[in-house]
Each structure stands twice: as structure tokens, then as C-alpha cells.
């Protein structure tokens, strides 16, 4: 019984680590730009296809593959932001954040269907052999999933270092804290907005490529996960990067452990319950304030 429980927790952590990267991206963009950019889902898929092209077609090494999966959705994200979202942002009003979120959903559909047009609806697998699970203390885990977990953790650590050690990182946190004050100190929020979008979408892209290595790529690879990503981000407080990682791990573990008592058909329910719980009990999220809240 204990082994079974531990196995579910482990499965949840592996899944949570995959969700953590796009949730980080969503949170980062929200912190700096002030709206939920739902097109992270499609950008995950863009990253997955970029990695697939680099790996299965061009035969690049896995480091280069992940880098490509970061750069392509990052740049596409900035371009899409400049083209579709920036014009709406300029006409600032009471409903701007809502309008931006709605337009980002449309953007998500547009990118997803562009991918469908380019690559078709079929599944594509990476040219990486599927390995049998390892058995450790009675628990089984796949080597690829361990690598995914480690990659996600490394990226989260690198991100933390970027935000606490570099000038750009600190400036970004300053904008997230208080845009007007940051501007007074000579920080140009627009450049930072581009950088936040670039990093945020890049993270989503890497998350998507790790997910795709684990499963396969098709045009809706990312959209299937948007609910859990969004709830992970909300659970973490929408502005806290640590909160996003924590939220993702909690959602991942909750979903898997819930299957002990609940029919697997209702698994998404745990994500809804998490959002409901947070809205009712602690609307600010679990870790708000750790990074500062956007005013």
C-alpha cells in the first residue's frame, strides 16, 4: 500500500515537473505584462515541433534540440505579442487585461491551426528509443522521465539565478513589483516585456518538447494541458515563480494520488478543485508576496 502511494506521488512529481515549465512561463508573462497569455499552450506545441524537427530530421544533439525548442517559440511569442497583443495594450482601459486574455486564446487557436496546416494532424514520435522503467526501492520510473525531471529542475534553478543575480532579472522583478516606480528608476518596461515574453514562451517550448519526448507530437499536444498549467499558475499565485513550480508539483501529485479513491475519468476535477479552493480560501494564491505582487 505504501509503495503504491509512493509510486503515485512519484508519477505525480514527474508529471508536475513537465507542467512546471509552461506554468513558469505563464506566471512570468503575467508578472511583467499583467495578463494571462493563453497562447503558451500553442507555444508548447511549437517547441515540441521545433525539437522534433531538430532531433528527428536534423539529427542535432539533445542540448541543441532543447535550445532550439527554447528559441523558436520564444521568438514566435515575441512576434505574436508585438503583432496581435501590443496594439490592444496601447489602448489601456478597464477591460484591457480581459481583452488581452481573449485575444491570446484566439492567438492560441491560430498558431495551433497553423501547425495543423504545416504538419498535419498525425502523431510524430522522436527518434529516441523508448526505454524500460528502472526499479528503485520497489518504485518504477523511466530513465527519460528522470532526465525530464532533472532538466526541468535545472532550468528552474537557472531561472532563479537569472532573477536574483543579473541586472535584467532584477529589473524584471522591479517591473513586476511596481511598473511606475521602475520607470522612474530608468527601466524601460517595454523592452522587459519583450524579454519576459521571450523567456516565458521559451520555457513553454522546452516544457512542450520534454512532454513530446515522453509522449508524441501532434498539433494539440499543448492545448490538452492548458487547464492544468493555468491552475498550477493560479494555485501558485500567478505572480510567484516559486509558486508556479510548487503549484505544478501539487497539481501533478494531487491528480495521480486522487486516483486511489476516484475513478480516473474525473482526473481533471483535481485541477478544477484546486482553482475553486484557491478562489474561495486564498484568492491571492499560495505564495504571493514571495516575489511581490503586481499593482
Amino acid at each position: 500500500m505504501f509503495t503504491e502511494f509512493a509510486q503515485y506521488v512519484l508519477n505525480g512529481l514527474v508529471l508536475g515537473a513537465l507542467i512546471a515549465l509552461p506554468a513558469l512561463g505563464l506566471t512570468l508573462i503575467f508578472s511583467v505584462q499583467g495578463f494571462v497569455n493563453f497562447s503558451v499552450a500553442a507555444q508548447m506545441t511549437v517547441g515540441a515541433y521545433a525539437a522534433w524537427l531538430a532531433g528527428a530530421y536534423l539529427g542535432w544533439s539533445s542540448i541543441l534540440m532543447l535550445l532550439f525548442a527554447f528559441l523558436v517559440p520564444g521568438m514566435l511569442g515575441v512576434a505574436a505579442d508585438r503583432l496581435a497583443l501590443a496594439p490592444i495594450r496601447r489602448q489601456s482601459g478597464a477591460h484591457t487585461a480581459l481583452m488581452l486574455a481573449v485575444v491570446s486564446i484566439a492567438l492560441n487557436l491560430a498558431i495551433e491551426n497553423a501547425l495543423r496546416f504545416l504538419f498535419g494532424s498525425n502523431l510524430n514520435s522522436f527518434d529516441i528509443p523508448v526505454e524500460r522503467n528502472l526499479q528503485i526501492w520497489g518504485l518504477s520510473v523511466g530513465p527519460q522521465q528522470l532526465r525530464n525531471l532533472v532538466t526541468a529542475l535545472l532550468i528552474a534553478v537557472a531561472l532563479a539565478a537569472f532573477f536574483s543575480l543579473t541586472r535584467w532579472g532584477k529589473a524584471m522583478r522591479a517591473v513586476a513589483d511596481n511598473t511606475d516606480l521602475a520607470r522612474l528608476k530608468g527601466i524601460e518596461p517595454r523592452n522587459l516585456a519583450n524579454l519576459a515574453t521571450f523567456i516565458g514562451m521559451g520555457l513553454a517550448g522546452i516544457g512542450g518538447s520534454l512532454l513530446a519526448i515522453d509522449t508524441s507530437v501532434d498539433p494539440s499536444t499543448g492545448s490538452r494541458l492548458i487547464l492544468v498549467i493555468f491552475s498550477a499558475s493560479v494555485l501558485g499565485g500567478l505572480t510567484s515563480l516559486y509558486g508556479a513550480v510548487l503549484g505544478a508539483l501539487i497539481i501533478g501529485v494531487m491528480g495521480e494520488v486522487a486516483m486511489i479513491a476516484m475513478p480516473p475519468v474525473y482526473q481533471s476535477l483535481t485541477a478544477f478543485l484546486a482553482i475553486l479552493f484557491i478562489l474561495l480560501v486564498k484568492p491571492t494564491g499560495l505564495l504571493v508576496g514571495a516575489e511581490g505582487v503586481r499593482k
Binding site: 498525425n122 526505454e131 501532434d218 486516483m259 480516473p264 482526473q267
Partner: protein, 422 residues
Amino acid sequence: MADASTVQPSNTKQNARIIMREFDRRRFLAGAAGAGSMAAFWPRALLAQGTQPIKIGILIPLTGSTSQFGATMSAAAKIAVSNINAAGGVAGRLVEVLIEDDQSNPEAAVRAVRKLIDVDKVVSIGGSYASAVTSAIAPLCYESKTVLFTSSGADSITKTPHNGYVFRTSPTVTLQGTRVGQYALELGAKKMFFLGPQTPFAQSYIDIISKLFKDAGGFGQGLIYEDKRASYRTEVDQALRTNPDVVVLGGYVPDTSVVLKDLYRAGFGGKKIGYSFGVNQVLADGLPHEVSEGTASLVPSASEDSTAYKTLIGKMGRSALDSYSCQVYDHVVLTTLALAQAAAASPNGTVVRDAVRAISQDPKGEKVSDVAQGLKLIADKKPLNYDGPSGPLEFAANGDVEGVFFRYEQVQKGKMALLKVA
């Protein structure tokens, strides 16, 4: 959108646009109404009574989630009509098919069927594919005494009080489940586990296959999961805890591919059997060979060795054709032959219903697979037994087809290899 009747209204619309610039709104409206009624009545006025074409409705998914066979279904229906008309039609009257898109959506399907029945006065409706669509339109058909030919699987469809107006040319869910269970037993399995997403059939599959295993002294269990998930590790763990020697995969392609990967990772060495909508060439192309190797699949099959099938794929310029498009072809042919057989003065649904069995399953009739030959036999007042590209088309009392074929396939080195057709 009705294929056959698009030409004139679109011209009318074009003319109307030109007229609009020159006249005021009221005169434009009057003019458009006049043009519309002209378009509607002109052919009838021109043709003598009884020589206007007999209309057959075809309701198929051309768009939406179930549209994968829509295009070939539409092409098959058109080929059926051109074959029939080339052979002189029904007693000198031409046949016309009106193809409507159900948009993979029951609500859109109901609107389309209302139009086919009330406006076009079709004698039969063929093609209907998704079970949800067919369940929605079946009452409209049998209440208006219009024959419905369907390729849907849900058992409930022929349990409606349809008074013989519904004919099903595809195997039922029960039959598909039974065949999969029997095949698993044939392979020597004793313990079965079913893994599939929430669909209207999932629980029926579990019940049917589990019962077969129990009756054979074995054991069967199942788990219904949520589809569109990134990982099925925990579900697979739960399945493997029962130590199954066969896993039945009830999912569609995206989730089945993840389940197969997770089964492989967990080191599952037993047998894997799926359905054609989950285990097919698309799946095999998307998975590493070692993961998909040996997974079997049951596919409702067209009558692939028959002359009718070979003739049809020849006419369509294809190397193979799905069973559903073959069924749509047969829906048009069955309607036509039934009307020709009955030789009624005014063709309608009841005439079709009463004559279908006479032309498709008369044991004394001459076997024909060609519609022109069938029409000739009827003209010569000789009995016939039509076998189409989709199968021998013998119907049970409730309208379900009997004697359907399945293709038993297996993934071998990334390709679907045919094991047998039975």
C-alpha cells in the same frame, strides 16, 4: 449544403447583387422572391409529371471531429448515382443524391435531415455515421416514413420503435466487442484488462469482453480513463497490478499511443488488441517500432475480395477504400434497386422499406454485385440477391446487418499487416 441544387441559387444571388444597385430595397426584395420561386418551380414546370429525378438524401460528416471518411463517402455516393443513371435509372426516372454535411454534430444533423425530408421529400437517407448523430435523426426518419440507412455502431439505434425503417450496414458495438473478446481468447489469453477513455461504448466493451472471459473460465476487468492526458502511468500501473495477459485498448490514436508507450516502459509483455479507431497505420507511423510491435486491431471491413469492391475502388482510382464509404455506395444502390423492384407509381420510404430484403437477401435470387445488372434482372422480372462492396447485406428482423466482415490486423515492424478477414 446540397451539392445538386447549388448552381441556380448562387446565380440568382449574383444577379440579385447587381439588381440591388439599381433598384430600391422593396423592389429588390420582390424581385429576389420572384427569382427564387422561378428557380424552385422552373424544372418542375418543364418536366412532365413522373419524370423528375428520384431524390435520395445522404447525410455525412464532411467537417468536424468524425470527418476522416467524409470525402470518400461523398465520392462513393456520387459514383453510385452516376452508375445508376448510366444504366437508365429507375423505370426511366433518374436518381439524384442530395449530400448534406452533419458537421459531426447532432443538432446540425437534425436541421439537415428536416430539410431533406420536408423540403426535398427524399425517399431514403443514407450515410449517417456517428452514433450520436444517428440517434438524433432516427426518430425524424421513421416518424416521417423515410428509410434510414446507417453506418453507426451503437446498439440502441435499432432498438428504437422504427417499424423497419432503419437498416444498419455496420457491425454493432456488441458485435465488435464480442469479436475482440473472442479473438483475445483465441490467442490463449486468460486474464483481460480493458483500458479506454470515457465514450458511450466503454462500459459496454468492458461488460461484454469480461463476460466472454468469465464464461471461458478466465477473468476480465477494465478501467475507464480521462482522455487527452499527458501520462497514463498511474492507469497503466493499476492495470498491470491485476497481471493481465491481454490488454484491450479502447482509445483513439492520441491516448492509445501514450498508453502503449507507458505499457512498454512498464515492461508489459502480454498481448495488446485495439479497435480500428485507435490502432491503425497513423498510430504505427507515430510510434517507435518496439512500442507498437505486435499490437492487434480489428477493423470493420469492406468485402475486399468481392468484385463489387474491386470495381468500386477502380472507379474511384484508389488502391483501397474504407468500409464506411462502401456502405454509403450500397445505401444508394439498395434504395434504387428496392424502388425498381417495387415498381410503385409513387416512390416513397415505405416502398423502399418493403422491398429492400427482396433485392438483397433472396436466397433464390441471382447473385449480383453490379447495380446495372441488378436493374436489368428486375426489368426482366427475375429474382436477384445484391451483394455490395460493403458485404452481402443480409438484414436481421431488427434491421441490423448480418454476416459482416472484420479485418484482423497486427502491427509488424511499423506496418499494419493483415492476419485474416473473417
